[in-house]
Subunit: 245 residues, 4 copies
């Protein structure tokens, strides 16, 4: 098996190193990841400048671009083979509910999925890299034992509690929850007195009811949400067709 690994925290992030280490036990692994932290990059592709690819070691490359750029370049020019699986992460901090729209970790996986390759985005619920090796061990386990039942290509969003491997209660298949709207922007001033604005933290969970990713992780489970990428609002489509046409 050949696995392509990327992330949005940068190619030197502990979460990526742990994930690469785990995956290398069952597969030939190549890392193509951003040169530096690109959290919040979403599916951004770099269209206005060319990208550089640098080799940081055997089968480890970094790119001066976004997570989507990394996977895109790997699949359409850098690698001379087609990976069997793409894994992204392990992200420092959760990607649940509406976060998935903004997440570079999810975007890296999505980019692979759009090329028809199964892809999984892994995130840890809490920041700080606590229990990262346990999270990587769980990721390995999921890849080894749980994927045979899935139609290919699949796109999974996985959030893992920060705890000992033995304390993970199991897996729950979830839908994405919803967040309340974000906290207000934080107004401040630079030292020259000019006003500046920091994007505030995401809102608290709004729909964290049973069945959601928020609920599963809060209960100590790993949340696995199967994703798709068609944003069409099918129900509204039908209604509008009746009214407008």
């Amino acid at each position: 098996m050949k696995i392509l690994i990327s992330n949005d925290d940068g190619y030197l992030a502990p979460g990526l190193l742990a994930l690469a280490d785990a995956m290398s036990k069952i597969a030939e692994v190549v890392v193509v990841a951003p040169e530096r932290n690109r959290s919040g990059a979403s599916n951004a592709l770099t269209l206005d400048k060319p990208l550089s690819v640098s080799k940081a070691g055997d089968n480890v490359y970094f790119v001066d671009g976004t997570p989507s750029d990394c996977v895109h370049i790997a699949l359409t020019g850098l690698l001379d083979y087609r990976p069997d699986l793409i894994v992204s992460g392990i992200n420092q901090g959760q990607n649940m509910g509406d976060d998935t729209l903004y997440s570079g970790t999810v975007a890296a996986a999505t980019e692979g999925f759009l090329f028809g390759i199964p892809a999984i985005a892994f995130s840890q619920a809490e920041k700080g890299w606590g229990f990262i090796d346990d999270a990587a061990r769980f990721a390995l386990n999921l890849v080894k034992h749980k994927l045979d039942d899935l139609h290919k290509p699949y796109l999974l969003n996985v959030n893992i509690p920060n705890c000992h491997y033995a304390d993970i209660k199991g897996v729950q298949v979830t839908r994405l929850g919803r967040r309340h709207q974000s906290e207000p922007v934080i107004k401040s001033a630079d030292p020259r007195g000019n006003p500046i604005y920091w994007i505030g933290p995401p809102g608290a969970a709004k729909d964290a009811s049973e069945g959601t990713d928020f609920h599963a992780v809060a209960q100590g489970y790993v949340s696995v949400t199967p994703l798709q990428v068609d944003l069409t609002h099918t129900q509204q489509l039908l209604e509008l067709k009746k009214v407008w046409q």
Copy 2:
């Protein structure tokens, strides 16, 4: 009515100017848009640095950030009221099918929708700003006459053919089509001999059958696709629950 306008081509782009001009006929208009072209920015939010907001004229602001940053700042700190509608664009070039995942134009509208405000992303099918005033006139018409039947908040993705207003055949409510995978990355070298990579153009339409945005625009219609933002793959969710739990 109060309308917030943004885009991803930058606050000086002809498409934004035409759209603002049109909307100002029926509403109080405020522009909060990126300082420069941020095409391909997707839903990226700037989390690692603060943002500056500059005033370029009455009710015209530009931000050194992404389209999502602009709408986010406008709604959570800059404006002292809540707009009734957010319009984004008019983008230079189409945003159809899988493009919606990468588009900054769609992302600006999506950001507003996530705050519970109706939002519309407008794009022209072809680049070059041909017939931009006709497109803006159509956008105005849509906003004036077509939105009463929609549940709020709604999120619409609108693609307009580049032609005289009179030559637009009408509106079709569509689903997003699909594209073939992108063209390969273009390998080149900088003048110092270092290899560089350009992200290639998007793939041709793969699913452009009747009912899709690709089909509608190809036939000379304006395509209107209602969007939602929940990426959960509901069908696969049910299957996985049976197998895994």
Copy 3:
């Protein structure tokens, strides 16, 4: 006469508009300036990505690069003639003493000088664009009447007090003063609690004695400092040769 105009505040800055307006009374003027504010850019050249040149109007171009990039591109590829003079500014705020090492305004002029073309950097002593038309009128006057006595190419650094044209006391030819070391970096934290550092303001004048640019401007004069670009420390060179060789 043909004059190339650039700056570091961006092609839309009031200081550049005033300067271009003034110079157009005596010369054919072309503007090639940064797309956005690049203060503090020093002589930075963009080597790791290509640059785009956009046309903003008749003989007005902006570049997504540094001030040095703008002049470099203008002289080696964009213009099909060689300008007789390069003027940079009018900068928002003074460039005196050690500031000249960091200033993008001075760098734009320096880039021209390195290509053998006379060049002048103009700055206003205070920020805020007060009396900018008076400053531009003075700049015009200098260019019209004062330059015949200079060996070409020359490189002048000009700082103008913010006051009515009639209140400018005259011109003083000065040496660069010296500043005390900068104020300490300002430690702060972003909203996520991560430490951040803002570069502090420059230090106060250390050598502002008679004959310096600081002194001239403080007395209400325009300071004109002729510059050169050879950083060799000639005296120390001689000493070291004796000791080491």
Copy 4:
């Protein structure tokens, strides 16, 4: 002795690692260097956004800024002591003649010098890191044995031939040479057909006569040029005073 090390190739560059390794034999060493390659940054300071400092190991920090930012932050906020010496590099490729104006390697040293601390910029004549350990050994030797005769603070620009340590012919104290003007900008097009411009390579040596850095290195010597930072053109100053005043 306490030595601060920076560079412009980024904190992971082989030249910095070799230099830090060498200096650690005679001093307590701390590295504060850019997160990524910032060649050509000149003395640029980042004024429009705050900077982050990350710890990459014991006494190794990287900053998301320019070389000047790194030294500035180290001296005015990060370090709780004042280093005795600042060394920058070893740069990949020469910094001779007019290069010194653009070089981030030289700028990092200059920043320290402006704070009153002795500083040395080291560069290798050729790119590719060939004989980097020999260059580092030479740098160590220079720091150990050659600096006592210098007035403090001093600012030295050192260029080292890429060869075995034993093959270095010795040291020559030099003045900066001059280059011919740069090669023209290289016009090209991006894959979408938009014109792009690459800054061309520097010009060939124009003044490479005996006594210059170019000449010394071409003869197999290490070139050491003492630098100063006062750009005042003293001779022209005197002439202008006579004419204008």
